[in-house]
Symmetry: C2
Subunit: 496 residues, 2 copies
């Protein structure tokens, strides 16, 4: 075996331990009795310690150096080797003591946040968040030095390799300008149109679950390689050949679970479509979190909230839940599923305002990591920022800077992925319509196979060969910008 | 940290990886979609490879040598250090190539057996079994040399440390003699008494499952630290603070699931009762498979098939399934649950004849490992042996030497544990009645807490401090023999 072949075996082994962790993580959220939590924490910590040891092993580092002396000519292998080096640098850049201190500070801060949020008591969690920010900045500086990036870029890079704040900034600025005129217009059109007639009655959980499973299967999810279960916070987990998606159900309404499951189905289809030839290799993984979000939002927003899909969905809902047929018309479902408002809460936001919530967080977290925004000033900066973007001010910190777990759990640099993903989904859909003009007509029959065929080839099968920027360029002919997303919103919300 | 403290940390880490494997194994049997099997096989193989690497690490071996120079004076620590050495020797005794060859031969043989059994085609699986026996003997010889034992004892030792074939032989011979007169007598008494009146009707699976969960909780299983699920082959798995038991259900009858769940509950209570202070250390584990089986059979056979328990169980069953009350009398339930016959199949055997099936297998596998019984002669030896013990001859190999998976999967030396466990359960129950005379009266009220209090102290809390032989001596005042079991059967089956 040459050095590169040895590296393949090493990284396959590391990825396989990661798969074990993924299944244990799913189990912890879905199956585990409460009394198993402490032991599970130990199990996950030991596995992640083993992954770290295997990734930073001297023998691996020696193999990397040897393989890099005669890099493979095959582009997949060459990219894989570069990603191996990147993975290695990420692992060795941070002293173990810092990793541990960060992990401990985040756990502690998150626990305090869980009490501070309902009490809307930012002061109670401020010292813990200051410590998290301090340690995160320290880690960001170390990573930035290792990769030759700014500290904040180094954090973003951990979620979405190759995307820089200077790439994101103009895209977000463009959208903020668009929003300033689009939002009042969308509201005026919506007001003129009048509200949708709500679906009333009870939506039995078993019927919702069966419908969700049927619709996700119809969208292409193969349940020989997947499960759908219930959890407090819906997510997509597991491994590419054994995908675990979850949802939660309320008997009062059915859209939350349905759109949630279709969102997770988009994530799952991406994992299932990754190139099997490069399974368990860095180059065979998804191209980062923005790319992942583009796939979930392609299904949930671009497809499932489209008039084409709703015209097919209506009869499915009517069959599952009964009642008056007229309520299930595509027009009425559209009014219900595409309602615009100026809420304070990101996770309850609509397609139009959601990016404003993300832009706010991007600006604030970048300033915090740069040292330009002291944690003590966060609540005011938050409220000022939201007012500037959406014209509303949170009445308290619970509905302001305390609403999201991310920072309190130590995740900085993740937020941009949500909106980059939404924009990427629109840009992919635009290119898809150009390449496969029959896609919308097929969707009106509930047939997603033309869409899936295209996206499998253009995105899923590319794995992590190109990274997000080049992937978008290759699939759509241009780098990511906000234009396709704005055109999509204009067509959906600003057209009478 | 001194060498012994380092060893504690090393073995805790190894055990924690083992816990991860246990949860993944449970998931594979209970939750995993079929398409996840290949990846799961890889995950389990990588984790067991890591466990092997961690156990055979030079640094661990150095710590062992250093710690043994000044062995700890605390008896738990001293026993733990001895068990660590034992575990280390087990891991290094076998060359990696042999371990892999055995694992591959067993997998291949088991796959052939799955087709050969329904076809009753021993010839088809014979070459594969010969290879398994050859490699198992090779491993047994290596382990025997490492531990100074006969090869067969070395295999038994892997399941039940410290128990030798020469210990088992006289106990089994005693029982064979007892059986020769007891079985015809029990049959005569049973014939004179007449058959029980069967419970008729349907037993809805949900009602069975709820009853099983309620009865196992009543027996002491804490569902904050446990789950009950369904699987094709019932088992008890998971970890001491997160126990996973499974059952299967048929709507035609309810006793199989009920007795199965109570059996697994016995295993689960043992795991849950292990000393937390020594969690994840060799000395904190269960005292082997015979000890484990003693705990499952203490609950299932000694308690749940007793007249005392049945008098309490009847009304529970009546409440769950309805019908005529008289059928649920302890006397009638006793006739149904304590029926003796001379079947060919071990897993369908009753308390009285089950040991005969085990004695047969013990004799045959010992002879195969010693080289005294060629695999080609197994079918005839099996049929002759069963005839000598039970007076019946299997009509074909499907109901003879092909019935059990164990040998075809490479497990030799395990079978004696079943009957040693049954005998140990009887001997423990005898000692328990002496120490806690009110135990049976409490059981008539469904109250197992006196029993559980005793067994927790005498067995569970001892972990692996003493090994099976000394554990029995400490708990019951004498080494294991067949007498208490024979007395138990005499009282239950030979008393009019």
């Amino acid at each position: 075996m040459n050095a590169y072949d040895r590296l393949i075996a090493r990284f396959a082994r590391i990825a396989t331990v990661g798969e074990a962790s993924a299944v244990l993580g799913w189990d912890a959220s879905v199956m585990m009795p409460s009394g198993g939590a402490a032991a599970r924490g130990d199990q996950l910590a030991v596995l992640s310690g083993l992954i770290h040891e295997l990734t930073t092993a001297t023998a691996l580092s020696d193999d990397l150096a040897e393989a890099e002396q005669t890099p493979p000519s095959d582009p997949w292998a060459a990219a894989n080797l570069r990603l191996m080096r990147h993975r290695y640098l990420q692992s060795v850049a941070l002293p173990a003591a810092l990793v541990e201190a960060r992990s401990r500070a985040s756990s502690s801060c998150e626990a305090i946040w869980r009490r501070a949020r309902p009490a809307s008591d930012f002061a109670a969690v401020r010292p813990a968040l200051e410590e998290v920010v301090r340690l995160t900045r320290e880690a960001a500086v170390a990573l930035g030095e290792a990769f030759g990036m700014t500290p904040y870029d180094a954090l973003m890079d951990g979620f979405q390799r190759g995307v820089r704040a200077t790439d994101v900034e103009p895209i977000f600025a463009d959208y903020a300008t668009f929003l300033a005129t689009a939002l009042p217009e969308a509201e005026a059109i919506q007001a003129a149109r009048g509200p949708g007639r709500p679906l009333r009655g009870l939506f039995p959980v078993a019927a919702q679950e069966a419908l969700c499973q049927r619709l996700s299967a119809a969208a292409g999810l193969d349940y020989h390689h997947a499960r759908l279960d219930r959890s407090a916070h819906p997510f997509s987990g597991g491994t590419p050949t054994d995908i675990r998606i979850t949802s939660r159900y309320s008997e009062d309404e059915c859209f939350q679970s349905l759109m949630g499951v279709m969102h997770e189905t988009g994530h799952a289809l991406y994992e299932a479509g990754l190139p099997p030839r490069h399974a368990r290799q860095p180059v065979g993984e998804a191209a980062g979190m923005a790319a992942h979000e583009s796939q979930s939002l392609l299904i949930e927003q671009q497809v499932c909230r489209s008039a084409a899909y709703l015209s097919w969905l209506g009869p499915q809902l009517h069959g599952a839940f009964g009642g008056e047929a007229a309520i299930y018309s595509a027009a009425n479902l559209g009014r219900l599923l595409r309602h615009v408002d100026r809420g304070f809460i990101r996770v309850e936001a609509n397609e139009v305002t959601y990016p404003a919530h993300v832009i706010l967080r991007f600006r604030l977290e970048r300033a915090m990591i740069a040292g330009d925004l002291p944690v003590a000033d966060l609540p005011d900066a938050w409220n000022d920022g939201l007012r500037a973007l959406l014209g509303v001010t949170p009445p308290d910190d619970r509905r302001g800077c305390l609403q999201d777990i991310h920072w309190y759990d130590g995740a900085f640099g993740y937020f941009p992925s949500y909106t980059l993903g939404a924009m990427a989904a629109a840009q992919l859909m635009e290119a898809l319509r150009r390449d496969v003009p029959e896609v919308d007509e097929a969707i009106t029959r509930g047939d997603l196979s033309p869409l899936l065929g295209w996206v499998r080839q253009k995105v899923h099968a590319c794995g992590n060969l190109m990274g997000f920027n080049d992937l978008m360029r290759a699939a759509t002919g241009k780098p990511l910008d906000a234009k396709a997303f704005e055109a999509h919103l204009t067509a959906r919300y600003l057209t009478v």
